[in-house]
Symmetry: D2
Subunit: 359 residues, 4 copies
Amino acid sequence: MGSSYGKHLRLTLFGQSHAPAVGMTLEGVPAGFTLDMDALAAFLERRAPGRNAYSTARREADRPVFLSGLVGHVTCGTPLTAVIYNTDTRSADYENLRYVPRPGHADYTAAVKYGGAQDIAGGGHFSGRMTAPLCIAGGIAKQLLEKEGIRVFARVLAVGGIRDEGTLDAPVDGKPFPVVSDAQGEKMTARIAEAAQEGDSVGGIVECVVTGLPAGLGDPMFDGMENRIASAVFGIPAVKGIEFGSGFEAAGMKGSEHNDPFAVRNGQVVTETNHAGGILGGITDGMPLLFRAAFKPTPSIAKAQRSVDLRTLEAVPLEVRGRHDPCIVPRAVPAVEAAAAIAVLDAWLDDRPGLSARS
Amino acid sequence: MGSSYGKHLRLTLFGQSHAPAVGMTLEGVPAGFTLDMDALAAFLERRAPGRNAYSTARREADRPVFLSGLVGHVTCGTPLTAVIYNTDTRSADYENLRYVPRPGHADYTAAVKYGGAQDIAGGGHFSGRMTAPLCIAGGIAKQLLEKEGIRVFARVLAVGGIRDEGTLDAPVDGKPFPVVSDAQGEKMTARIAEAAQEGDSVGGIVECVVTGLPAGLGDPMFDGMENRIASAVFGIPAVKGIEFGSGFEAAGMKGSEHNDPFAVRNGQVVTETNHAGGILGGITDGMPLLFRAAFKPTPSIAKAQRSVDLRTLEAVPLEVRGRHDPCIVPRAVPAVEAAAAIAVLDAWLDDRPGLSARS
Amino acid sequence: MGSSYGKHLRLTLFGQSHAPAVGMTLEGVPAGFTLDMDALAAFLERRAPGRNAYSTARREADRPVFLSGLVGHVTCGTPLTAVIYNTDTRSADYENLRYVPRPGHADYTAAVKYGGAQDIAGGGHFSGRMTAPLCIAGGIAKQLLEKEGIRVFARVLAVGGIRDEGTLDAPVDGKPFPVVSDAQGEKMTARIAEAAQEGDSVGGIVECVVTGLPAGLGDPMFDGMENRIASAVFGIPAVKGIEFGSGFEAAGMKGSEHNDPFAVRNGQVVTETNHAGGILGGITDGMPLLFRAAFKPTPSIAKAQRSVDLRTLEAVPLEVRGRHDPCIVPRAVPAVEAAAAIAVLDAWLDDRPGLSARS
Amino acid sequence: MGSSYGKHLRLTLFGQSHAPAVGMTLEGVPAGFTLDMDALAAFLERRAPGRNAYSTARREADRPVFLSGLVGHVTCGTPLTAVIYNTDTRSADYENLRYVPRPGHADYTAAVKYGGAQDIAGGGHFSGRMTAPLCIAGGIAKQLLEKEGIRVFARVLAVGGIRDEGTLDAPVDGKPFPVVSDAQGEKMTARIAEAAQEGDSVGGIVECVVTGLPAGLGDPMFDGMENRIASAVFGIPAVKGIEFGSGFEAAGMKGSEHNDPFAVRNGQVVTETNHAGGILGGITDGMPLLFRAAFKPTPSIAKAQRSVDLRTLEAVPLEVRGRHDPCIVPRAVPAVEAAAAIAVLDAWLDDRPGLSARS
């Protein structure tokens, strides 16, 4: 299986890049919540391609169509299903990929897994396009969380080795390139343009923050906030690493440096630093939850590559045609927010399913 | 909840550091498999404390007692339950921690989560001691996988900023300190001894490799090998990051560098490099699966720290008494192997539940 | 939640009677299976209303539209989603039911559960219409099972106290009224017509048989075949009881009468009788699996009934307008087959996920 | 798998009749609840054998030993594990059953399922003995529910064709034979004694009532109260049928008879009758939840039976030695209550996880 997530909230993603639709079903959303369709459209717009020089020009109109779970715009307690109909379903271009897998893609592993019956068109179910229904679900989760004073926001922390500067204290999604330091952002876009020109691509890091969380969410061991969030975030294609708080840097620190001292501020228990990224023992401690996800460079590149023909087992050169996103990291920002929001809402519902949903 | 893991294989961990026992139930193990109890004991021995200068001196005899699931030493198809009885169940030492939480520990978050009813003795269910039943389950999973030609092994990759050298091509568990380069290992143990002397602690990184995997294990999206392994590995206390293949380094690479070209070797499709860590689209590609887990430094340190009294909300100094492990990373090596083995076996059973269990 | 079922096979139903669509997502179907769309349409036709005098005249065109999971008509291994677009989505007729719940319906319990936000139109998610997507999933499951030589078929065993005669040895779905004894069937249809004339309704019993099952499917305790099937069958609206083999009659029998003696026939272990209904200890024994489901009479009746106004808590008379099915039992036959097929396929996939799907 | 149950509350049963122990792990019990160990012991006593003439004389001391999840007698929020150590673990008596399966038992199906590696001693994991840990879990669930004003109680409704009289309005567990009409109870015990004398056994029906439930528990479709309860109750060995409210009788009723009219009593919406058994659309309606479970006669009988030798596939006569319970129905009463309490608590926790646990 693989396309379902969550315990109290249950998300199922379906669809393929060139199937009639991609979509999602979300079970467990409290009844009586009014969806803000404009806010949802604006959120989806953030992952849409073609917004800038640095993303692929093919323009999708990612309009979600709700098939169930609503009366008007109000949730009615039953499974919420929304789809985005695919307009671009030509499959002819992909036939050659059936036997000559693209390096860095799931062409080969899907061929083995599904015995040759996999949908090769546009990456099928492995396509980055599957983040569109993820963002529908995440956009809904974000709205529910916002009502509780919980905000989820992210930035591009690094692209091709260039790192953003400053701390992510507030959303930067109003900017064309979602970074804190616009100067660094300009270097990143230049780096992306350079890769595009070379027929190459670059990877990067997305940093995500969740504020307004109460202490006490999450569970010990396998349902900790780290496990839950990692489990959702690795559902985004191209993610190869995740770290919370100081993360890998913590491995080089001393206990006396890393331990966050407890203190009291405004009558609340807080920690003076936040190396833990807001999570102790898998459970939120009331400080901002902070994590970073590493994205590999887009595997689709124009440069010539080496592959094999699966029929003859002979080495063959491969050239991937078509326009491709030289860096998917900026468009991945809302996808990371979506995955985080779903994981956090799931944990929240475990503890207080009522929410303040009914307005 | 939180203490259960898996889909086809279902692991539940129970127990607290100072409860009568810690233990595990493993459902879904094929019937007819003969457990090698000596091999299991040897595996558990690897996580036992007190083996070296660098670990805490308190000596536990982690002997698993099987309560169900076996006829003799052979699995009979029903849930496998094994416990380790705790010999050290004095709780008096911990009473002061009820109101003055230790920085870096789950004392505070557990207090909030469980409304003050949490077991404070020895960290309760949040104790590193819970990796003992994890290792029982993992030791069993390793034996089942070995029968299929799949090996899971790990090393200490870094401690307190000092990094091992060389590639992990074969198990190093025969060594007193599990690294590839013994010279680097000596520097690490010196680093740990230094931290101990300072009443401090250090963190580190464990690197784990799984060889002999067929291509085709794992699923797209939320049940990919990355999601499954991350979900298990974050169940080990103190893990704050995980990365697969090139991981965070991939974020700085170009597509032309990161994409692993396909080739044919001995009639098998392979990749020339393995930046993907053996996973494409969440599915194994037949190359060694490789990941690294970052451990924060042991939060229990002798140095004075700052905390608050939860009753009065006043700042109070805290000194954690008792002997503590200045670095849990060497002992965490088998725990990481265990988590990986369970995740891999779960994915394996999804696809071929028969296994070659019956010998 | 509530609208998902299964372990290895995962079914999610979504939609409401008057939402844009009703639909289903089925995860875990093996890749490479060619769906027979005509057979599926024929199966759905069996639950369609308006086929006979005894069912409601409103005619739906239950044409499933597949949105994902297929390449052509061949499963590609990813979630299979199909919807039926609702043509009849007028909701005005139902507004009065918001405050005056219909006896025997879920109007009142849904109002409490969802705090007034429930979809009242046509019963919303509680409508019998939800058996349409159940039948899509079940029709697919039946096709997969048939390929393995497993057949699932059912009959109307009783209606309004009149009982069919004879044993259900083979499918009777070719008949306009699915019974073994047509003479008894005629009495039943007369009984239904009589109820219709009185503005009343009648209940009944559906009996279902699964042949061709190997011994060894199912699990002890909570995942036994009885649990799995009951769990699916109670998902059909109006089911109030289920029994396996001799069922409630067994409660009045002696052990010496009820125990099925083992024997050998054609080199196979069989039982001489089948009071167990093909299940011992939750596991199939190779004999036909047999169960019966009791349906309450259709709650929608023309006769005047007593209800209360939820706003004023005053007693009010209620008359349910519109044409209603005086007996849903004949149309429930394929729904019972569908639920059984899904449960059996789920159990089958637990043991042999490969199936012989690839033709 | 098979030995786990529940969503918000997660029960896992482990153990075999002659393994070192039988036991249970219960995840999801709210922290801060004080277990009444005497009440739990008294509940377990109700399923103990040897209390009367009509049950087997072998006496077990079913004392639960808690291994985790408690601090003193107070739940601490982590998995609750309790075991009963088996004192009687001789297996020699059972060796002959390995190849000559007992009719009506799981000997044959377990042999097929587990490829001959099954635990044959005393029925292994299929033994009625597994209801002891079920009753530990159920006894705990009952205590939690009682705190909310919810009571779960059951009676013997029928044995060997003799039916109790009167309505089950209050617990009858203080009686040596749990029926409403003692006169009918005497006839039942006589019937059981008669069967015992003949070396035979009898089946029966248990009726269970849950009072004090609020309206709104349970979910549509597959997580309805019927599905949840059926799924738990079929986990009790020998159950072959379940019905809610009027159940199978409803199949012969008219809608105008079966529909329960709504009314108002003491400012509460109620139904005038309760044919629905307190459940509409899978959701509680606030009336008493009522169901009945049919038990087949004990398969272990002294009378000679026909079986086959699985090695030679030749017919062989079989005599089952040892003392056996001629009717397990009276002892099954607490097991049915246990299964119901677990299912109801699971549904309750889905909606209001806080409970009033902390006293």
